[in-house]
Amino acid sequence: MIAALRKELLLQWRSRAQFLAVFVFGASSLLLFSFGIGPNAEVLRQFSAGFLWLGLLLSSTLTLAESFHDEMENRALEGLLLLPSDPRALYYGKAIANWLQLTLLGSALIPVMVVLYDAGTDRIVALLGIVALGAAGLSAPGTLYAAMTAQVRGKQTLLPLLLFPLIVPALLASVKATSLVILGDPMDSLRAWVVLLASFDAIYWALCGLLYGRVIED
């Protein structure tokens, strides 16, 4: 699995221009959200967490799909299966790489959020932690579905179509947790949301790894 992970990270490093493009996409989404809502600083701050996560979610469809682009180009997906490696190792390698990329993307979007929506906070570590957990929730099922839809025509619409309903709990928990960190947490309910998010991550990282082998077999 380490080998798979290293390969993925190497591929991602090579296509870092792509990452920059996705970041710009995410940042411009955040900008568009403010245009959609209007120049009301109070309201924007109120919903800044929601905008951040929606922006990250939309951007994730790009990065997730992209992560299988190389396999599809060279039909390497079938080639990998000929190697004596566990499909689960392949899955986790790719899922972790996607997770790191999404965490990086989310973290990069935080300053954009702070500037556009006046949504600053002192609790940077907590914020980054939530971004990491939320990104994990996106990347586990996202990697599985990206593997499926990469092999199919109409892949661009199918990936979000399948992924979005599924990650609703992760989205809710991430937004709520982020919101509490930014706007304040009078009833100390942050922990409950983090636990929900972590549970979602645990369940889906296990389940998707289990099912991945069936998805890429011939």
């Binding site: 599985l144 199918l158 309903p165 609703v168 809710l172 099912l211 069936r214």
Partner: protein, 236 residues
């Protein structure tokens, strides 16, 4: 062209449908005209006699789809894929109906079409998930791949249902919680049970028939192409 319409094999589902329809008419008539009006909600509450049976059966449909998905992944028999295709479609129909019924209930009761009730919101999320599965099936042509992938997707979506429910429940509890009445007094039980049975029969009939349709298409897809003599006698 063979025009035999109703072979013996379609008789059972037709019986289910017929019985279900009859019971549904009877149960609804009872619920609409004979059962007493509810104390606070008045006559609008009578929607319950169609909404709750649909909800119970939707739940059963989702569970059945989940079981079929697992069965297919375990033994690979196409009939499980056919049953799963049927139950995913029927469950989607029921989910759509639940959302419509729920809105029609919510408007006169709470003044809004959608009140973010956790149960109904979970239904809506799962409706989209199942519609995605149907879309996935339409985009994949190889029958085996289609079966495997949609089984995986069905399992993932079904497992998500309780998680979605709890997360929406907590999310909504911070705001004013408007709950639909839980306790039902005995005067309301009979029409509710009649309609629950009625919809169960209807759903069973639907799934059986839809399975046949799916199975027929599957056997067509997996069979070798037939050699048919053309108009001038040559083979196609």
């Amino acid at each position: 062209m063979d025009t035999a319409v109703h072979s013996r094999s379609t008789r059972t589902p037709l019986i289910f449908l017929g019985l279900g329809a009859l019971l549904f008419v009877f149960g609804s008539w009872w619920g609409l005209f004979i059962a007493p009006a509810e104390q606070y909600m008045g006559d609008v509450q009578r929607i319950m006699y169609v909404h709750v049976p649909t909800a119970w059966n939707w739940m059963l449909g989702v569970i059945f789809a989940f079981i079929c998905a697992i069965a297919y992944l375990i033994n690979g028999k196409p009939k499980w894929d056919a049953r799963m295709e049927a139950s995913v479609e029927v469950a989607s129909l029921f989910a759509l109906l639940l959302c419509i019924q729920g809105s029609v209930w919510a408007k006169p009761t709470w003044g809004v079409w959608w009140d973010w009730d956790p149960r109904l919101t979970s239904v809506a999320v799962l409706l989209f998930a199942f519609l995605g599965i149907i879309a996935l099936r339409n985009f994949v042509e190889d029958p085996v791949k289609r079966a495997v992938w949609s089984s995986v997707a069905t399992i993932i979506a079904s497992v998500d249902l309780p998680i979605v429910y709890f997360s929406v429940k907590w999310w909504n509890s911070l705001h004013q919680q408007q709950s639909t009445p839980q306790t039902v007094s005995s005067a309301f039980h009979l029409p509710l049970r009649i309609n629950a049975l009625a919809v169960l029969f209807l759903m069973t009939g639907f799934i059986m028939l839809r399975t046949r349709v799916a199975a027929a298409r599957l056997s067509e897809e997996m069979a070798p192409p037939p050699m048919v003599p053309g108009p001038a006698g040559e083979l196609a």
